[in-house]
Amino acid sequence: MRKILDLFRRSSLESRMNEEFDHHMAMLVAEYRKQGHSEDAAIRRAKREFGSPEMQKDRHREARSFPWFEDLIADLRLAIRQLRLAPSYCAIAIITMGLGVGANTAIFTLVNAALLRNAPFPEPDRLKDLTKSMKGRIGWPVFDSRQFVEFRDRSTSFAYVAAMRDKGNMNWLKPDSAKEVHVMRVSADFFRALGIEPQQGRCFERAEEGAAAIVTHSFWRNRMDGKIDQPLNLGGQVHLVVGVLPADFPPTTTEIYLPLTLRPIQDGDNTQVFGRLKEGVSAAQAAEECTRLLHALAKAEYKNQPPPEMGITMEPYGSSDGRGFKEPLVLLSGVVALILLIACVNLANLMLARATVRGREMAIRASLGAGRFRLARQMLAESILLSGLGGVAGLVLAQAFLTLLVMASPVPIDKIWTLKMDAVVFAYAIGIAVLTGLLFGLVPAWTAGRSDPMEAIKDGGSKASSGKSGSSVRRALVIAEVALSVVLLVSSGVLLRSLIDLMAIPSGADESHVLAAQMSLRGDRFDTSAKATQFFDKGIERLRLIPNVESVAVTSAMPLERGLNCSVIVPDSPDRPEDLKFMNWRYTSPNYLDAMRVPLLNGRYFTASDQATAPAVAIVSDTFAKRYLPGKNPVGLNIIEHCGGKISRTIIGVVADVRTNSLKSKLIPTMYIPVSQASDQIIKAAHTWFPMSWMIRTKDAGQGIAAKIEAELRSLDPLQPIQEFNTMETFRLDAVRNERFLAYLVSAFAILALVLASAGLYGVMSYLVTQRSMEFAIRLALGAPGIELALGVLRQGLGLATLGLIIGGVAAASLLRWLGSLFPSMVDPVLSKDIWVYGAMIGCLILAVLLACLAPALRIARIHPNQVLRES
């Protein structure tokens, strides 16, 4: 207790010590005076007798109170004093650290929000997303209705199994206006599984048909004025609000939940399934059971058997929201970890250089009695102080990075998750900062503790030739740094190359000089086939007259856009002819496929005579024909379209495949029909969900054509605005937006790494040159040409870099192979294609290395031997 009090009474104890020492000295001096010495001699003798007062005080300090705590404070105070003496060193270290920590914290904030944080529902650890996964790959949380029903009715592991799908926008038709609302269809047990009770009303029931709705609290309060009894007309169907969610229901984009009515059919993988595990059932048990059910179902009813290694895994609920992000986030986490490593290496280098410069100071302190441990601790205190400040800088930078990330992101990630830097993120940032400070502060601390005072003082801080101490560590650090940046540069290069390859995949149509004027035809003005056809015919007539226009057509979905997912029965199919089959549905004006120059493989294109009154026809894609009618000539066969209603159509032609909304996924069976022959129901659905496009091909680059198109269409129908103009290029960019985002982000980080590594190399090289300035001066004085010495330094730098390049290149190659197996959709390493990537990136790095070594090398040429030799 007294000791603790002493901590606060420190200064009074300190002054008492001084008092006692002064008295003791005075008495000693008086004693020697009495013995007949002169005043001066007496003081001298007394001092010799007494010894170093500071050392005595030090001993005394250690005798009382908590030495470690006081020392810690003393260390930190000294560290602050020391660091204030070297502001530029400090600034560089803090910025370096801040960049590393900031990048990591920003990405970690995303990881935390998307992958780590528990879903905000009761007992979230029992809530699991079901995902289909192949061995060692990340799962996809999508099932068809048949599979969901199987899990719901047969599995015994879950208290509830629920499903959701069709997340999107709908038109909320009010008597006087229409508003866009965000809806999602959910199965009856959705809210029960989540453990959420509606604040008013009830959950959906199993038998519920489409006419009910449950709304969020904010929708109910703000947009329905707190009245539950008004029916909602959503795109023509009237829904009665049966429940209102509690106010604390986690906010998502969805405002209205509609019941999901399911028929147990193989309707394509578009249903997300999750479940609440029964008490005491493990996720592994549930996964095993579901895997068994999946395969049993497939064996009994499915033609296309899933691969035997496909299984069902249980992921935390909500992780499927981040499913497109898990891979990029894992990748990005790795990338920023490498950045942090490079930053750390730089920091260690900086501290090491500083420790060597301060070697003499350290030696003097050692010879004055400072213990080796004490000195090491002092260095450590400095590095921890620095990294603590770096951590704070990192938090600030992370906020900035995060803002940039959200801005650059192709999807509104800040709407999908609540991105906040919570306590976990805060702890993470400070944690990595201090941990790295400790780790990399140990290197210089260790060398400081090891140095021999005699040697250091003799050397006087500037050796005649470069010594060994510390420099091997330093070289290793440079090599590591170069290797790390090679890994990052090559990885970003391969990502970019994969992206370029992806961008170069042909869509299947002729994209040159094509412009799409897109319109949203929501509402009742164009909700029948007849109304739409009339509008399109008139529009095409007008647009065709614009000079320089080669062809004009209309479609519900352009190449690289998604169409409607629908079903079809193919009676002539050898594979379960009576079953509904999945296909992508698009309406077109008769001339669309011709105008888009989609190659005709068989039969004919539509003609103007394929009108509403003529026999119903369809054109199918090559994949459609090959998958559903293998070995048969599709032309002349009948199929039954199941999109809303049933329509029997005759296939009149087969066209080449055109890529839909993803460039890299499998080709999807596609069916085109003339818009005049579409059912009113599906026209309405198509116009509700997607904008349609006027496709215009011009004879040349089509300068200024957009304004003319807009003028024509406005004069045709002043009430129908054009939403936007798109070229095929923009569709393409849109189709690869996630890949683009990732590739650009990784490239940005790679550039950051390159800058950090060059700065590190520059620091080390200029340090080495300074260390050897005496040697260079002597050699210059003896007549060595400066240029040769400079080249020597360049060679030394390049030598270090080359080793790093080789290690980094090998590491990058194996890392990429591993990443390629982990994230096949993101990284696609093909060594033969990537060889130039490696070359370019390594060339880039060598250039940076040369630049970093150039300045120190040139400094040699400016050395004046006389001056250097005289100075030392």
Partner: protein, 110 residues
């Protein structure tokens, strides 16, 4: 030149307590002088050892201190034994006797 003796581990407290017991209130320098005198200059109390020890003993409540004038009229801090200190001295003396007799028996044993 006589070689100075290092003080035996753990005996510093006893030396200080005993000295103050026989001298009465004394300042640090006086204690150091006295020890050197009595030991014929063989035992030298380092200032860096002595003063911390004095403070420590005071913290334990065995010594009290107050200012008083020293020989040549300087202000100095005089230390004196407290009652607790006297008790401690007796206890330590007893302990010392025990140690000495133990040591001599051990060393004389053939």
């Amino acid at each position: 030149m006589k070689t100075r003796q290092e003080i035996l581990q753990g005996t510093l407290d006893l030396i200080v307590l005993k000295t103050l017991d026989s001298l009465g209130p004394q300042h640090g320098y006086g204690i150091a002088q006295r020890v050197q005198q009595v030991s014929d200059g063989l035992l030298f109390l380092n200032q860096g050892t002595l003063y911390p020890a004095l403070i420590r003993l005071e913290q334990k409540g065995w010594l009290s201190s107050e200012y008083g004038p020293s020989d040549n009229n300087r202000k100095a801090r005089f230390y004196s034994l407290t009652r607790q200190g006297k008790k401690q001295l007796l206890a330590e003396l007893e302990q010392w006797e025990l140690t000495v007799s133990l040591m001599s028996r051990l060393l004389e044993a053939k």
